[in-house]
């Protein structure tokens, strides 16, 4: 597998999915490149591009909820913090993702 071509393919596919959800790729190009590369590696290992920042639980139902882009499964949480957990995607109005703290669901009153 060519890592760069797969990153490019994932980037195209993810863009099609997250745009209608009100999200865009992070403007942090270095972070985006790193995360996409991790996802290509995870896809190579597991067959699925899981989130690089959330745990696989050995439970298929839970694991499928962290397949990137996992925004639909965590919509309230990610809308509250204006980013997805790993930060690959941010709300479309976000210009400086460094100002977005990585808060847990509990910290934003969702648990």
């Amino acid at each position: 597998m060519n890592i760069e071509s797969r990153k490019k393919a994932l980037r195209y596919f993810f863009g099609q999915v997250v745009g209608p959800l009100g999200f865009k790729f992070t403007p942090d190009a270095e972070l985006m490149d790193f995360l996409l590369e991790q996802e290509v590696m995870l896809e190579g290992k597991h067959g699925i591009p899981f989130c690089p920042c959330q745990p696989l639980r050995h439970d298929r139902a839970r694991d499928m909820q962290i397949v990137c882009p996992c925004i639909p499964f965590h919509r309230k949480h990610f809308d509250a913090i204006k980013r997805c957990w790993c930060g690959l995607f941010v709300h479309k109005d976000v210009l400086d993702p460094d100002k977005l703290p990585q808060l847990s669901p509990k910290e934003v009153g969702l648990e």
Partner: protein, 81 residues
């Protein structure tokens, strides 16, 4: 000195930033990379995270305080630095 430990993922950039934060501040810490651990360890960590309402990494414990996510201001506050 407060005890600092963390659960992380080798694929997570925020976990790397967290490790760097403690290293830069010369704070001794221990960590386990969840994805590189055996299944029994993963299940134990998973239960701890569920109990704390944590869904992702990094998962940091400073003495009894749990801090989920890369939150350098909270690390500093908990450590008094």
């Amino acid at each position: 000195m407060k005890k600092v430990s963390m659960y992380a993922l080798s694929t997570c950039p925020w976990c790397r930033k967290t490790k760097k934060f403690f290293a830069d501040h010369k704070i001794p810490f221990t960590f386990i990379d969840y994805d590189l651990a055996d299944e029994a360890t993963q299940r134990r960590i998973s239960q701890e995270m569920d109990a704390a309402g944590a869904t992702g990494f990094p998962f940091v414990q400073i003495d009894d305080e749990v801090i989920v996510g890369y939150q350098p201001d909270r690390y500093s506050s908990a450590l008094g630095i």
